[in-house]
């Protein structure tokens, strides 16, 4: 597939990094010095203006299958998509950062005028806000993801000393039915567990299971079903959207924001939230407002340093769950190193959406677990021989986490029979995704 990416910033690099091994990627940017970021990749770098049709021709838009505009300028992104659509029959996607663009595209009548030119508008901050709200809703969970139209759920927990499933082989653990352990992270390494793996306190564990069975798991970890008190530091777009989404859950939301004018707007838009004007790192304010009683702290200012400080302070105050926004992807590992449970970047979430949108090779890269593991959706090719899970020879370091057959989703065990046409949800490490794809390719070849 030929992919043209306009914008060689962080998002552009992340997308190119995920695609360059398997696709023909061209990156275009106004600034030549950005080329350095792409030198280690197999991509073509073109210097030029993404909104200029002749420059786009040079980048090869005429032969492109997909066009992604992800500069930091919304106007350029929109113009670039319009220009690309005018030049060739190409799928276009525009990144935007401001509410008014999203509203404009969502408005009635927008479809007739511009909707055809831009196939997809992506607002990374909103994607992040959705992600955060989902995590807040499940008490103690550090990450959540839903697949197969919401029928399959993935949850990540950090195990505490009093938690279930500890200190015995997983084969003997009494997991709720329809739920399996898809992975465990201990000391920065991800392992796909087997029946003999033993979980310890401090491990982060990823569970996968049918959505309707996950409630049993959630209750094992947190008998209280809801997060009642949510504190949000930073009332920007992300903070506002998180609060807006949680408002329907009857949670007590407290937002701390420094800018007075912004506070007034927030107080106007969010009648059920308590808006405090102040600094999230002001310990006196946090104590006065009893922020330590919050069930969740969401640190989503624009400043990574402040988010880190607020998060560490919150952990120290004893808030059980802390969700932290990380603006720069490379800070993420750093945050994890100092003990931040759930560092989330809007860009990573957005890149994931791009990959899903592209539908690469009928393989969906559904989600990545802290960059250490991936969930892929593949169909077991028609014509393959059916066989038991333990017999079909899936590659090492991979696990069939769930199978979708027609409309039903279930969690397999070793004796489950895989049939042609089944959709397999496979958990594996990022280095191994190629092996999984090759394995499936081999199965298909063997059956021909």
């Amino acid at each position: 597939m030929n992919v043209v990416i306009v914008g060689g910033g962080e998002i552009g690099a992340l997308i190119a990094g995920s695609l360059h091994r398997t696709h023909n990627v061209t990156v275009m940017d106004m600034e030549g010095e950005r080329e350095a970021a792409f030198e280690s990749m197999d991509v073509q770098f073109v210097r030029g203006n993404g909104a200029d049709p002749s420059d786009l021709r040079v980048a090869g838009v005429d032969h492109a299958d997909a066009f992604i505009a992800c500069t930091t300028n919304d106007d350029v992104n929109v113009l670039a998509c319009l220009a690309a659509k005018g030049l060739a029959d190409v799928e276009t996607m525009a990144f935007v950062t401001r509410q008014r663009y999203v509203d404009a595209f969502a408005a009635a009548g927008a479809f007739e005028t511009i909707g055809l030119a831009i196939d997809r508008v992506l607002w990374p901050q909103r994607t992040l806000a959705h992600q955060i709200a989902d995590i807040v809703r499940v008490p103690r969970a550090l990450a959540t993801a839903g697949f197969a139209g919401g029928r399959l759920t993935m949850l990540e927990y950090r195990l505490e000393p009093h938690d279930p499933f500890l200190d015995r082989p997983l084969g003997q653990a009494e997991l709720p039915s329809g739920v399996l352990v898809a992975g465990a992270i201990r000391a920065d390494t991800f392992t796909i567990p087997s029946g003999t793996t033993t979980l310890q306190a401090g491990d982060k564990v990823v569970f996968m299971g049918r959505a309707d069975h996950m409630h049993a798991l959630e209750r094992r970890f947190a008998p209280r079903r809801r997060s009642h008190n949510v504190a949000v530091v930073g009332g920007g777009n992300v903070g506002f959207m998180v609060a807006e989404q949680l408002a329907g859950d009857r949670a007590n939301i407290t937002i701390i924001e420094q800018n007075e004018a912004r506070c007034e707007k927030l107080a106007q838009w969010l009648p059920h939230a308590l808006v405090l004007k102040g600094d999230g790192t002001d310990l006196e304010l946090l104590q006065q407002e009893r922020i330590e009683d919050a069930d969740v702290m969401v640190a989503v200012t624009d400043d990574d340093g402040k988010n880190l400080l607020v998060s560490l302070l919150s952990k120290q105050l004893g808030i059980p769950k802390v969700i932290t926004r990380v603006g720069r992807s490379r800070n993420r590992r750093l945050f994890e190193r100092v003990g931040i449970d759930a560092p989330l970047t809007p860009r990573a979430a957005a890149v994931q959406e791009v990959l899903n949108w592209l539908h690469v090779d009928e393989v969906d890269h559904l989600a990545s677990i802290e960059d250490r593991a991936e969930v892929m959706e593949l169909s077991y090719p028609a014509g393959c021989r059916e066989g038991k899970v333990r017999d079909i020879g899936a590659p090492r370091d991979s696990l069939i986490g769930a199978i979708q057959r027609d409309k039903t989703v279930f969690v397999p065990h070793g004796d489950t029979i895989v049939r042609p046409g089944d959709h397999l949800f496979i958990v594996t490490t990022p280095d191994n995704t190629g092996a999984v794809e090759r394995w499936l390719e081999a199965r298909r070849a063997a059956s021909d």
């Binding site: 107080a267 808006v275 405090l276 004007k277 102040g278 304010l285």
Partner: protein, 485 residues
């Protein structure tokens, strides 16, 4: 074109009055009643009206000061000329005639009339119509003029949900004003028909319909609604008083296809809730006096009558137990909705004050919180909060001062207290010696003049009138040579 807007408006008002007076002259001639009063009034208003209108100009761009002058003077000039028939035909002295006329145009309903039998029917009809006309006048001022001038927080009450505002102001105002007058007229017609069907004589039905929708309260019957001894009529009146105390602009939106807006409106909800709770409380307190059916009827009728500032009486409530009277005194201070012809402080202002108080209490707990005062989906701006607070302070201050002066001039305390609030709130009857079955004529002449001023000030939202007592008002704008660009 400075200084020519006010004369135009006042002149137009007087010319309109002269037209009405001519009609009444004909009516009096047809029913063979004395017509000199009406004729004189028509002549006077035509003369002054024509002169003022010639001095004025319609396309003058009014300044704030001029708009205020137009309102303040119109509301004095029209009642003054409208008082002529009372003086000429019924033989009232000038103070009493002006009191009665002011009580009419301000939709108050307080009267100095003692001998109802000697009063010709044409004059009863004029009295009722003056309230109806006063109702239209005040609705237009409340909905079109005062919001523009940001008086007593009114800029907020009629602002529709925020949206694109490229539409020019004038057409929208004209549209709203037309709509409101349409609803007002339509409800008046329905009300008259309903009274007649319920068994009231046709003349009385029409006279009462005029004063019901205006939240006025004049009745051609000396005993007000008690005189008909007809429960059906009382209930019809209760229902139409409920409408009369609501926001007419809101009612119009409801009729024009958005009925849910009525139920969602915070002021309407509070208005109905307060009225119903007070009615039920009064009903319970009246159970010792009446049976359940009558207690309910009098309870609802009297609370709606007093709260909407209409002032009808289905019974002589001045004779009721004190506990029951206390409920009526409380609702005297509440008033109807901001977009009705009723007077008083108005429900929406109490709502704003209540929310503001709740906010201050909450702020004690969260000193750093940003807490907007909300009314429905909208946030009440701080300047509106200030205006409303100032309005209530001024209102209560004027009420207290008036009470004290009335007591000094020889009235007993309950009479003075209720006469002041009844006139300032444009309600009409009070308690004790100004109860529904007695009149204001026995009060000291200075008291009657003061109460006339109370009616006038209360009608024009107090703040407007008190502008006259500021030094800045009387400092004339200095004429400067215009620098031409």
């Amino acid at each position: 074109m400075r200084g020519r807007f006010a004369p135009y408006v006042i002149g137009t008002g007087l010319l309109a009055l002269s037209g009405v007076m001519l009609l009444f002259t004909f009516y009096a001639a047809v029913v063979r009643q004395p017509m000199t009063g009406f004729l004189l009034s028509a002549a006077l208003s035509a003369l002054f009206g024509a002169v003022l209108r010639m001095l004025g100009s319609s396309n003058a761009e009014p300044t704030r000061r001029e708009a205020l002058i137009a309102v303040l003077v119109s509301w004095l000039a029209v009642p003054a000329v409208g008082a002529v028939p009372y003086a000429v035909t019924a033989g009232f002295g000038p103070v009493n005639a002006f009191f009665e006329s002011m009580s009419g145009f301000t939709t108050t309903g307080a009267t100095v009339l003692t001998d109802f039998a000697a009063f010709p029917s044409s004059l009863f009809l004029w009295r009722a119509l003056s309230q109806w006309v006063g109702g239209i006048g005040i609705l237009v001022i409340f909905i079109a003029v005062f919001p523009q001038l940001a008086i007593a927080g009114r800029q907020l009450f009629f602002a529709e949900a925020p949206g694109p505002t490229e539409e020019r102001l004038t057409p929208r105002l004209r549209h709203t004003a037309t709509a409101v007058v349409t609803v007002y007229t339509g409800l008046t017609v329905l009300c008259a028909a309903a009274y007649a069907i319920a068994g009231m004589p046709v003349f009385d039905s029409v006279a009462h319909a005029f004063t019901t929708l205006a939240a006025g309260g004049f009745s051609p019957n000396a005993q007000s609604f008690q005189g008909y001894a007809n429960p059906a009529v009382d209930w019809v009146a209760t229902v139409f008083m409920l409408f009369a105390g609501a926001n007419f602009a809101l009612l119009y939106r409801g009729v024009a296809g958005r009925p849910r807006e009525i139920l969602r409106d915070p002021e309407f909800r509070a208005y109905v809730s307060i009225a119903v709770v007070a009615s039920l409380a009064l009903t319970v307190l009246l159970l010792g006096v009446y049976g359940l059916g009558d207690a309910l009827r009098h309870g609802f009728f009297q609370v709606f009558s007093i709260m909407t500032t209409t002032g009808y009486a289905s019974a002589d409530f001045a004779q009721w137990p004190q506990r029951a009277q206390a409920v009526l005194v409380v609702v005297m201070f509440i008033g109807g909705s901001a977009g009705s012809a009723g007077g008083g402080i108005k429900v929406v202002r109490w709502l704003i004050i209540a929310r503001n108080t709740a906010r201050e209490v909450r702020r004690a707990l969260h000193p750093r919180a940003v807490l907007p005062v909300r009314l429905g989906n909208r946030v009440v701006p701080e300047d509106v909060l200030r205006s409303v607070a100032a309005f209530i302070t001024l209102y209560v201050g004027l009420f207290a001062t008036s009470t004290v002066i009335l007591v000094m001039l020889g009235a007993d305390f309950v009479t003075a207290f209720t006469a002041s609030i009844a006139c300032l709130g444009n309600i009409g009857p009070g308690l004790a010696r100004v109860g529904p079955m007695v009149d204001f004529g026995h009060l000291h002449v200075a008291s009657r003049l003061l109460l006339t001023f109370d009616m006038y000030a209360g009608r024009l939202e107090v703040v407007t009138v008190f502008v006259l007592f500021t030094r800045g008002w009387w400092r004339l704008p200095r004429r400067r040579p215009h620098a031409r660009p």
